[in-house]
Symmetry: C2
Subunit: 395 residues, 2 copies
């Protein structure tokens, strides 16, 4: 008797303040909920057509696997639950990427590489903030596991852009970064630890003078990198002219090659580069990226290259799309036409009308006049005397 | 900077036992995850075509609204979380019906009745049991709010059956019940409280002799009701012949009328009635039902008539479908054909192949022989010299 062991009571007495949900949590109502589901399905359909197969990890896991190697800000944003079965702590996922990488490197370790996986689901976070008060998000994404090439980075970025374009999001732009560059330069030039935070902070504010002041022998290079920021063609030219140490040449080469491929493959998309940006990319080992649209506040998605698994480590690239930011930029389709079927209409009439694309609304009360019911229920047509008759606004 | 305040680290080191999820929680892998999503989408598409509009309540709510009037077994099955924002307890939903009824009677109180709502989502429960070890389920359902008629009950049951048929579930059966009948008889005949549990227990075991022994003046009636159980036509005839008190005539009438309408509208579906069944229907005020398929262990879904809201109370009918029980009964579609695009294939070739229905798999490594890559990645065709060429199993 599946699900029958506990009787879940549909009887509901609304509490005193029935609409009061916790801050940052909300109900999606019609037509928004359907719109979001349709957009998510459309994105996944596109990813599936490029070989990204869907996985669906659980909402909660043991915290040690959910937060494996995650930084402390992630751990702080994770709701904990005591598992009465194992007596161990579980966490409600604050992100899905980590779960997908776990699946790829464990249960799907035997599958040939590169492995393409897709996902969609909700995540929960302990607190919102002023810019982003929501605490539950829908995330959609892909991970391309076991391919260490520029082609992999480009595929993931283009896939995400194609998906957003298909939804109708206009004015797409991509910002490329290589978060590992600055820390590697700090190491190569032996910048004292005490100064690193100050310089990093100045770079984050794009304050070149303050950064140079504290950066010692790195001053010129950092000033040059700060200048090599902005629209891709000009910035790449400046970046190419910089005299970078050999050790970081691969990062510059990857950034340049990814940018050039995108300029070629998706010429309609605005492309910027920012070789010093690092915030939110702390774990990225190669090219990272953020997706924007000109009319939308905030990021539509982000991703980049990272290492999945241990022994073996697998070079991987992924992207996460944030549906709450994307949805306002997607045109909502016109509502479908509704046909009222007066009480007692044979079921086959309804089946046939639905096959023709109608939304049918069945009358349940034979005592109410059919046309009154139809208008009250927002129908544009009514089934009468064996025919579908359009309803006039004012009869 | 949407979502940017916290950097969610995609860097993952698999923990020591990476596949060890908590008991009752699992990863859905390819192709299962996509199959489930497609089935859910198909069900919701069918419901939408009959006017059921989707809502999406949050995963967690304050426990007092989530568990409003829920019985203690529901409360015991609910994971609790402390909300650091409000310092109040929240619960992870163990069921979605209660949330949808909350939405209907609060935020959508202004919408005309009857109100048709649909939902799909995951629920979490504290513990599984031997028969049902899972602790996370996907539920899909509809609620028809504000219609107190047999036509409403029939619509919801038929909608669910049509949805399951469309998925390809064969051998569907419905078991109808009226859980309020026996308690009302207990009251009408003044059965002492002490005996009620014993009688109820005997009825649940279908032990007529034991029930009659303790039921005093109700003995004959309960024996008659026990006999009126089974395939609908014969059982309804027996039920009609019973001399029931006037107060419970409406329950018998509703059960009979729902059964007759289903025999007429979905004649291919097996129909049984069980007028004494009450387990899992404690809150149902009229006809309740359970959906089965002949080849499937356990229930595919259940639902029935209940009261939503307070002041005003709204007569409502709903159904919940259990995807974990349904999926094994749904034929899995054949996998789509995969076309390998050697590294460097122009992006437009891929776009055009996907528009023709291919799943394209892009080669990322120009050093690997294209045909080797294609076979390794399970492709049935390869793009070569401007053409799509089928790959032989053994070239």
């Amino acid at each position: 008797m599946t699900n029958a062991s506990v009787s879940f009571a549909p009887a509901v007495s609304a509490p005193a303040t029935p609409t009061l949900l916790p801050t940052g949590l909300r109900d999606a109502l019609p037509p928004e909920a359907e719109h979001q589901a349709a957009c998510v399905a459309d994105l996944l359909r596109g990813f599936a057509a490029e070989g990204y197969e869907r996985v669906e990890p659980p909402l909660v896991e043991f915290e040690d696997s959910l937060l494996a190697d995650a930084d402390t800000s992630v751990a702080r944003q994770t709701f904990r639950l005591m598992d009465p079965v194992s007596q161990r702590m579980m966490g409600v996922r604050p992100d899905i990427t980590i779960q997908v990488a776990r699946i790829a490197t464990s249960r799907l370790a035997h599958r040939p590489r590169p492995l393409r996986l897709a996902y969609a689901g909700d995540v929960l976070r302990v607190k919102g903030n002023q810019l982003q008060p929501q605490r539950q998000f829908t995330q959609v994404g892909v991970e391309l596991i076991g391919a260490a090439s520029v082609a992999a980075d480009v595929e993931v970025i283009r896939c995400a852009l194609d998906g957003l374009s298909r939804l109708g999001v206009a004015g797409l732009t991509v910002d490329l970064t290589v978060a590992a560059l600055v820390p590697q330069l700090f190491d190569l030039y032996g910048l004292p630890t005490a100064q690193r935070a100050t310089v990093r902070d100045a770079l984050d504010r794009k304050d070149g003078a303050a950064a140079a002041e504290q950066a010692g022998p790195l001053a010129d290079l950092l000033t040059g990198l700060l200048a090599a920021t902005g629209p891709a063609r000009a910035a790449l030219m400046l970046l190419t002219s910089l005299d970078l140490p050999d050790a970081v040449q691969p990062l510059r080469r990857d950034l340049t090659e990814v940018a050039e491929a995108l300029l070629h493959q998706v010429p309609q998309v605005g492309l910027t580069v920012d070789p010093i940006e690092g915030r939110g990319f702390e774990y990225h080992t190669g090219v990272g990226f953020t997706l924007f649209a000109r009319q939308v506040r905030g990021e539509l998605g982000r991703g980049g290259r990272y290492q999945a698994g241990v022994d073996p480590v697998e070079a991987s690239t992924g992207v996460t799309l944030f549906m709450d930011a994307i949805l306002p930029a997607v045109p909502v389709p016109a509502p479908r036409q509704r046909l009222f079927l007066p009480a007692g209409t044979p079921v086959d009439v309804g089946r046939s009308a639905r096959a023709d694309g109608w939304v049918t609304i069945a009358g349940l009360d034979p005592k109410e006049a059919a046309e009154t019911s139809a208008k009250r229920l927002n129908c544009q047509a009514i089934y009468r005397d064996g025919q579908i008759v359009e309803l006039k606004e004012r009869a």
